[in-house]
């Protein structure tokens, strides 16, 4: 499951917004097949880092490499084509489209029909192509258990379902690297467990390399292979879950604030990085 070729690398990435230093000299790399988590307190720069990976922000300094290629200045839409997909911290579905259409948009870079061949639908093979992809995304729909809302307008769904549809849409891109920004925020326990299982499956069965930002330490410790900790835009630790947990800096900067949360979760298998959710 874990090959040793780095699929992604950030080299000395800094990002400033005027006077605000969102990221300062952050370097790390992710191996193909890893489930990599980024944690840190609010405002630590986690989303900023993911935005640099997905191309929404361009680092003020430093470089981003994907599959050995320097992608620092590449536009987000081109990054989708080379295999980077993501979900957003705040819901970002196409609110007036059906769930099916939302997921089909994820197929954009894989579909070949265009405004001409699409408009001529039956005569150009566009119909055949659309149907073939429709069949494929049905598999994702089954995987995420959202068959019952296929035809619903995305904007009318519950929060938890919308998060799931967003994941489905990102999966439809067939990315090699998938970035999940707080996929479980605002979910109840049951929804969180489901989501954690989907993430593990999409890593293990679909073979996608995962970068996840998540505040729920129980889940993070449980399913991550490796973890990076950011604080005030700086990397303060990186390593296997148990190493990160033992790190004094981390305890002070981040986990200290969440002591009670952790003690609640003491019985969770924090030392088994690749384990499934209990």
């Amino acid at each position: 499951m874990k090959a040793d070729t780095p699929i992604f690398e950030a080299r000395h990435v800094s990002l400033r917004f005027g006077g605000v230093r969102a990221l300062t000299d952050v370097s790390f790399s992710i191996d193909k097949g890893e489930l990599f988590s980024i944690i840190g307190p609010n405002g630590a720069g986690k989303t900023s880092m993911v935005n640099c990976i997905s191309g929404r922000y361009t680092p003020t300094e430093g470089q981003i490499f994907f599959k050995g290629q320097d992608v620092t200045g590449m536009t987000p839409n081109n990054r989708a084509e080379i295999g980077i997909g993501r979900t957003f911290q705040n819901l970002a579905l196409f609110g007036h489209m059906t769930v099916l259409d939302n997921i089909m948009v994820g197929r954009h870079h894989l579909l070949k029909n265009n405004f001409l061949t699409g408009a001529l639908y039956w005569f150009t093979g566009a119909r055949t192509e659309e149907l073939a992809h429709r069949r494929e995304i049905e598999e994702i729909i089954d995987f995420l258990d959202i068959q019952h809302v296929r035809k619903s307008i995305a904007g009318t769904l519950s929060y938890g379902l919308r998060k799931r549809v967003e994941l489905a849409r990102a999966m439809a891109l067939k990315p090699d690297l998938i970035l999940l920004d707080e996929p479980m925020a605002g979910m109840n326990l049951e929804e969180k467990e489901d989501m954690a299982r989907y993430i593990v499956d999409l890593n293990e069965e679909y073979g996608m390399t995962v970068v996840m930002i998540e505040h729920d330490m129980g889940v993070v410790m449980d399913i991550s292979h490796r973890i990076m900790v950011l604080d005030f835009g700086k990397k303060i630790a990186e390593g296997y879950p148990e190493e990160v947990l033992a790190n004094a800096h981390v305890k002070r900067a981040y986990l200290g604030e969440a002591d009670d949360v952790l003690s609640d979760e003491d019985d969770v298998t924090v030392t088994a990085p690749a384990g499934k959710v209990a």
Partner: protein, 355 residues
Amino acid sequence: MTSMIPCGDFKTGYSADTTIFPTTTSRNMVIFGIAVLCLAPLVMDKYALSLLIQIGYLGIAALGLNILVGFTGQISIGHAAFFGFGAFTSAWLVSNLHVPVFFAIPLAGVLTTAVGMIFGLPAARLKGLYLAIATLAAQVILQDFFARASWFSGGVAGTLTEPFSIFGFVFDTDERYFYVVLAYVVVMYILGTNLMRSRDGRALVAVRDHYLSAEMMGINLTKYRTLSFGISAFYAGIGGALYAHYLQFVSVEGFTILFSIQFLGMIIIGGLGSIMGSLMGTAFMVLLPESMQWLTDSLAGGAIDRALDLSNSLAFLREMAIGAVIILFLIFEPDGLAHRWKQIKAYWKLYPFSH
């Protein structure tokens, strides 16, 4: 949001799911409707027929504007200028390059597309008010061009052009030209429907709904915003060309900003982001002044007429009514006629359990 498919009607494959019409009944209804329309020239008087023809060519242009505004979320207050450009171009192709009208109409559409893209390219980088002003510039520049370039538009005298014909058969009466417009409406609306259910159409809506995640899905924002201007101009150009060969005369005065705003009125009333709504809204806008006329006629001579001087203020009353209707729609029916139509259908389908 409930689906409109009656219970028990289970789809047996994905292909059944992607048909234009949700049920075979609705498809048959539309085919029946078109068949009935084919009989219109046999039973309708010339005046009613001319209204239908108007609804046809304006409806095509309105669909274009709806693709730009309703589906892509852009704004344009220069649509009438593109409509005019299509009209002049088709006339120009016929008289100067001796292109048969049959080919001149689609060609005018293509050339209008090119002009639309040129104006769309900078506009694609703008938003909101700035975009509105940029399209206003398109309106002003093109209008000025019509007035000055007499080699193209015939200047103040306007341009005379030929009627539509195929193999020597000339469609020079309303009864005949009606079929040309009907065929164009059917084809253009089918093309529009297909576009919206395939890759690039979805991309346009994605850009409207959430441009940041659209970009993350591999959609090039500038490309699709510009494309939307192009497609919208194509529809405007075809509509304009059909208009030119209907009247067989194009004058430089007609394509004002007021006309552009009427196009916006059509799609707002019909329903932003609704294909069939575009046609409904156009019909509404064409028929509204007619019904005003009818109203004033039937009140003619009465006390109200004398008090309000209706017959003299008719033109003024029409404008007022159109403005009032747009405002009322914005307040009470922001989703347009298409939405109301769906609800009426739902009401009958669920009757008597609709409450």
